[in-house]
């Protein structure tokens, strides 16, 4: 059995530290995750032993780094079960991936009066790029509504789909409340009308087994740093056919084939979308994170996290005056709550003093907070290195908050 919580905690150096003189509890995993030694050491090794820019050098180290970078691409391909390596585009992160699609596919297919569908539980990163595109093109943004549990209303979605719909962009998992959307079904419905779909996987990739072919997603985007990898690196998966069709986004080195002052022709996939020196050390680090997750077992991780979420939901629900948001049947490790009569900022400050990191505020998802009629929540987001004991400590801190502010 590879999944042993004590071994896992030892893999993450930061979990051994103290904050405010107490053992550190990290419950802000939806913002970013901590890094296992395997990732830290892998990146350290590149910097110490093999660092050289990729693809351009004929020299020894450039060759090694290029191979490592391309091996990371293969690791990603395998991790999300894409058909081809060249369908994996390295980006700086989820936001960059969504912007890339909005500025390429978006610019190509959206005309005045066309429609783009998103959902009510999106992160700002999957709202604003589409909103701006709509403004540029005089197109319309349509929003799939949700119920009080935080689940999308698929019947409403079916009604929103029209002959003018050109793109559907929906999150796989909602960052603020943890809802897992039925993305396979959402994609199927869009495809029945020939509409391509982008899935924001930023909050899904670290919790669920993602198979882009099974989902039949046209685009799937995520970030390395939310899946135990480094910051500044992410992935845009796109189906080969659609990536071939859309124009390049940023231009510069690496992504070109021939350049003269009269005409430039572009390199083939995936390089067409990777202008400039990519974050190759980030990509190698992200690859190491994926290998680590596979080693621990994606299904084991999911099962452990499910148990932890159930425990956390039960324990927090027992606290009087605490209201949990996001009660979707299908959800992953987010416990988003308010305390009756207590401002989330006050709660967060006191919880922090207990050495526990949570996030407070609107979680870059203002529309959903508005839908619930609240200014913000306290959000504890879980990872597989968290424990039931840590949840107990959160509950104690919450009791203290209640005592202080009542």
């Amino acid at each position: 059995m590879t999944f042993d919580i004590n071994n896992i905690r030892n893999d993450f150096p930061i979990l051994q530290r103290k904050v405010h003189n107490r053992p550190f509890v990290y419950f802000d995993n939806a913002a970013t995750t901590q890094k296992p030694l395997k990732v830290i050491e892998r990146m350290d090794k590149v910097y110490r032993e093999t660092n050289s820019n990729i693809h351009r050098g004929v020299h020894y180290l450039s060759d090694i780094t290029t191979n490592d970078f391309e091996a990371a691409r293969e690791t990603v391909r395998n991790f999300i079960n894409a058909r081809h390596d060249h369908e994996i585009i390295f980006t700086p992160g989820t936001t960059a991936g969504i912007n890339l699609v909005a500025y390429t596919l978006g610019e190509k297919v959206i005309r005045r009066g066309d429609e783009i569908i998103i959902s009510a539980i999106e992160h700002h990163a999957n709202i604003v790029p589409w909103q701006m595109l709509c403004e540029r093109k005089k197109a319309k943004l349509r929003v799939i509504p949700m119920n009080d549990n935080g689940e999308l209303l698929l019947e409403e979605y079916r009604k929103l789909l029209s002959p003018r719909t050109r793109i559907v962009a929906v999150t796989h998992v909602a960052n603020s409340i943890g809802t897992v959307n039925p993305v396979k079904q959402i994609i199927e419905i869009a495809h029945s009308q020939g509409v391509p779909v982008l899935i924001d996987g930023a909050q899904a990739i670290q919790h669920l087994r993602v198979d882009v072919q099974e989902l039949d997603a046209d685009f799937y985007v995520f970030s390395g740093h939310k899946m135990y990898g480094p910051t500044g690196i992410g992935v845009l998966y796109g189906k080969e056919g659609i990536l071939e069709e859309i124009p390049p986004y940023q231009t510069g080195g690496e992504m070109v084939d021939q350049v003269s002052f009269e005409k430039t022709t572009f390199n083939s996939l995936p390089f067409k979308f990777e202008a400039g020196t990519p974050n190759y050390i980030g990509a190698i680090g992200m690859g190491a994170a994926m290998e680590y997750l596979k080693e621990k077992g994606l299904d084991e991780i999911a099962a452990y996290e499910k148990d932890l979420l159930e425990y956390g939901t039960r324990r927090l629900s027992e606290i009087e005056g605490l209201y949990l948001f996001g009660r979707a049947k299908e959800k992953i490790g987010v416990l988003s709550f308010v305390l009756k009569g207590i401002h989330p900022y006050d709660a967060g400050m006191i919880i922090d003093k207990h050495g526990i990191a949570v996030r407070t505020g609107n979680h870059c998802a203002q529309p959903i907070m508005e839908r619930f009629g609240i200014g913000g929540t306290v959000r504890a987001s879980l990872a597989f290195y968290n424990t039931r004991k840590e949840i107990d400590r959160l509950c104690e801190a919450v009791e203290k908050v209640k005592e202080m502010f009542s």
Binding site: H343, Y345, M349, G376, M404
Partner: protein, 145 residues
């Protein structure tokens, strides 16, 4: 007895906080003093008085009384409100010149600096700036006359 200077009040607050040994007492005290804040009337809780933070919101109003700036304020978060109460204790009822020239060192010294970090985005940093801007505006106005 002569009125205390801004420096004296800042030092007084620092003394008051020195008795607290841990953060818990300190924050409990802050919660206590939040209740003493001269809050703005509900009618002034309008967008023009609102200083929007990502985490908590602050309403601030300034009036000129007898050549001195008098502040009233409020926040939806108690800890923020407690710190506002301290800021008002230090700056309210002072001349624009005094306010503009004051260096606020007491928050750092009482160990509440984390509340003033711009990344906390609770409206306090913007509030201090706004307090000084009000003073500057009054000063400019009176020098024109």
């Amino acid at each position: 007895m002569a009125e205390k200077t801004i420096t004296e009040i800042q030092d007084e607050i620092i003394d008051e906080f020195e008795v607290f040994e841990d953060w818990l007492d300190k924050y409990n005290y802050l919660i206590d003093i939040s209740k003493s804040l001269p809050v703005v009337d509900e009618e002034y809780k309008k967008p023009q008085y609102l200083i929007e933070g990502c985490q908590s919101r602050v309403w601030l109003r300034a009036e000129m009384e007898d050549r001195k700036v008098v502040y009233t304020a409020d926040s939806d978060a108690v800890i923020t409100k407690g710190i506002i109460a301290l800021l008002i204790r230090v700056l309210s009822g002072r001349t624009p010149e005094e306010i503009i020239n004051t260096e606020l060192y007491f928050i750092d010294r009482i160990g509440l600096k984390e509340n003033l970090s711009p990344t906390r985005s609770n409206g306090l940093v913007a509030m201090i700036k706004q307090m000084k801007l009000y003073a500057l505006a009054w000063q400019a106005k009176s020098s024109k006359k």
